[in-house]
């Protein structure tokens, strides 16, 4: 008990998080390609079924995938308690998310109640065991520094609410459930999903990894103690407002969310500017792009209700593109470029007991020049796509092809690392 989280034997085998990490870029590729023929729909209006289907290829197939894999790997180290039954949880999470994202996207797009019902089962299987296992780890956490624990625990709650609301929405669309209140339910699902789950989790991870990767000062203690609670309070206000129908509460909630996006983006950019380590690598570039995206996005929650109705659709799609591609996919890519080669080195060294000089180092496992090439492609693709909702549908195609190519590069780079690991005799399980 007392050595919980300390020993190598308790770290999951390389193959466990890896299956999530290698699947995610494939979903990004799929989303980019599927968005080409459907551009006339999703660029015009976020409520088209094409837009919702594409959104979930990203939120479940890419983000959910990487985040589950990363948490199964990181929780034992960061909060100091192992994740129970992690092999089963990983198997179910991976299969459930992959099958669920595919089925949900096709079910929505085809308008098939049967596919939607199967998707709901798959997604429940993909999320509920994971959430239960993460709950055990987070509840028993014995870390001496609570700053990461607060956003992580709140993100857990965000994921639970998002999944519950999502299953309900899908049930309504499949015709199983009463559509009463679907407007409010959708608003809350989106807010809890994007900020309650994705943003809070990135904040919790950032408190640990930003100072670690670049040797920056730690996040200011006052900021780190309160920022996650502010996001949570904003979401609580929004939830209350949507039940009570009070628009002034909602206004306050959206204002706080906007401030949270700007605050986190600016504080992180400032820490990175003050880093001790001068090296600029692909991970730093990806994180900067991600943080800049948050800062740019910050006025949107406030601005959106003030826009004329005919502009709201395009503004929402643009906001979604900036959040999902500019922020979330960037941050996740940056993390993968550290986690995957580090784990390759770590597992190979520990398995073979090889002397450090006789196995590849992290940069040989995954050359930074390759990762940077990916960053450039990703950057150009995002810049191209952000104005797409305001332009004719055909405009989006080249940007989407670039995005698919960028996703392929990510996959190729990660796979190259794993191949080298195997060639040196590393075992995945």
């Amino acid at each position: 008990m007392s050595q919980t989280g300390l020993s190598y034997e308790q770290a999951p085998p390389y193959g466990l998080p890896l299956r999530f990490f290698l699947t995610a870029p494939l979903f990004l590729m799929l989303a980019a390609v599927a968005a080409i023929p459907t551009a006339a729909d999703w660029t015009a209006d976020p409520h088209t079924l094409a837009a919702v289907a594409l959104t979930h290829l990203l939120t479940l197939g890419v983000l959910g995938m990487v985040m589950q894999g990363a948490l199964l790997q990181m929780l034992p180290v960061v909060v100091g308690t192992p994740v129970p039954a992690s092999h089963w949880v990983a198997r179910l999470g991976h299969l459930g998310l992959a099958a669920g994202a595919l089925l949900l996207a096709t079910g929505l797009y085809r308008g098939s109640p049967l596919l939607l019902n199967i998707a709901m089962l798959a997604l429940a299987a993909g999320w509920l065991p994971f959430l239960a296992a993460a709950a055990v780890s987070l509840a028993r956490a014995r870390t001496a520094s609570p700053l990461t624990l607060i956003p992580m625990r709140l993100a857990w709650l965000g994921a639970l609410l998002t999944v519950a609301l999502g299953l309900w929405l899908a049930g309504v669309l499949a015709g199983d459930l009463d559509p009463n209140g679907i407007e409010q339910g959708l608003g809350l699902h989106v807010a809890w999903g994007l900020t309650g789950w994705v943003l809070l989790l990135v904040m919790g991870v950032a408190y640990q990894v930003v100072p670690m990767l670049q040797i920056t000062p730690p996040y200011p203690a006052g900021y780190a103690r309160w920022a996650a609670w502010v996001v949570f309070a904003a979401l609580a206000l929004l939830s209350l407002a949507s039940f009570a129908g009070m628009s002034s509460l909602a206004e306050a909630g959206y204002g706080l969310l906007g401030a949270s996006l700007a605050g986190f983006g600016l504080v992180t950019l400032d820490l990175q500017r003050r880093r001790r380590r001068r090296l600029t690598d692909a991970t730093l570039l990806f994180w900067r792009l991600g943080m800049l995206s948050l800062v740019i996005l910050a006025p949107l929650p406030w601005l959106y209700p003030r826009l004329p109705a005919e502009l709201q659709g395009a503004a929402a799609v643009m906001g979604g593109l900036i959040f999902l591609l500019g922020f979330a996919v960037s941050v996740v890519s940056g993390m993968l470029y550290k986690i995957v080669p580090f784990l390759a080195w770590f597992h190979l060294q520990t398995q073979t007991g090889a002397r450090a000089g006789s196995i590849p180092n992290m940069k040989e496992f995954l050359p930074d020049s390759e990762a940077r090439r990916h960053w450039w492609l990703h950057l150009v693709a995002v810049l191209w796509l952000v104005p797409a909702p305001w332009l004719p549908p055909a405009y989006a195609a080249p940007g989407l092809l670039l995005l698919a190519l960028a996703a392929y590069m990510l996959w190729h780079n990660l796979l190259g690392c794993v191949r080298l690991f195997r060639r040196y005799g590393g075992r995945l399980h």
Binding site: G5, S145, I215, R277, L279, G357, N361
Partner: protein
């Protein structure tokens, strides 16, 4: 009071700063400076390891009766880190900046997560079971500050 946690966590920060200075010099291919900066880093790290392996861990093992447990894991991670430091030293000698930076990247990741585990789990544990042993803290301090 958590004197052990505080002392050794501060020393981790100190080693991080020296690490960054050495890496920055190598990256700039300022080899004259890099040699001195790297020597300062590797000496500070060696003193930190010595303080733990020769003073802290034995005291912890004697008091807790656990010698195959957490301290065993920490010692074996020290071994991995020493290997990487040796690789970096050879790269400085060869003036091989790419080789140095590949090893230093690996070392940084390993070192920071090792430190995290010590700061969040092992040090607080030693502060609890070795509370009030002022001599021990003094001995640690002396090792860290030796030339």
């Amino acid at each position: 009071m958590t004197p052990i946690t505080r002392l050794l966590s501060n020393d981790h920060d100190h080693c991080d700063q020296l690490f960054a200075a050495a890496e920055n010099a190598v990256q700039a291919r300022d080899w004259a400076h890099a040699e001195a900066a790297f020597a300062a880093f590797s000496q500070a790290l060696a003193r930190h390891f010595a303080a733990e392996e020769e003073t802290l861990f034995p005291a912890f093992e004697a008091r807790s009766g656990m010698s195959g447990g957490p301290t065993f894991v920490m010692r074996s991670e020290h071994l991995q880190m020493r290997e990487l430091v040796a690789q970096m030293a050879a790269a400085v000698e060869r003036r091989d900046d790419a080789g140095f930076l590949g090893a230093s990247e690996t070392l940084l990741m390993l070192m920071r997560q090792h430190n995290l585990k010590e700061e969040q789990i092992l040090y607080p544990m030693t502060d609890r079971i070795l509370a009030g042993e002022a001599d021990l803290v003094e001995a640690l301090r002396e090792t860290l500050q030796a030339d």
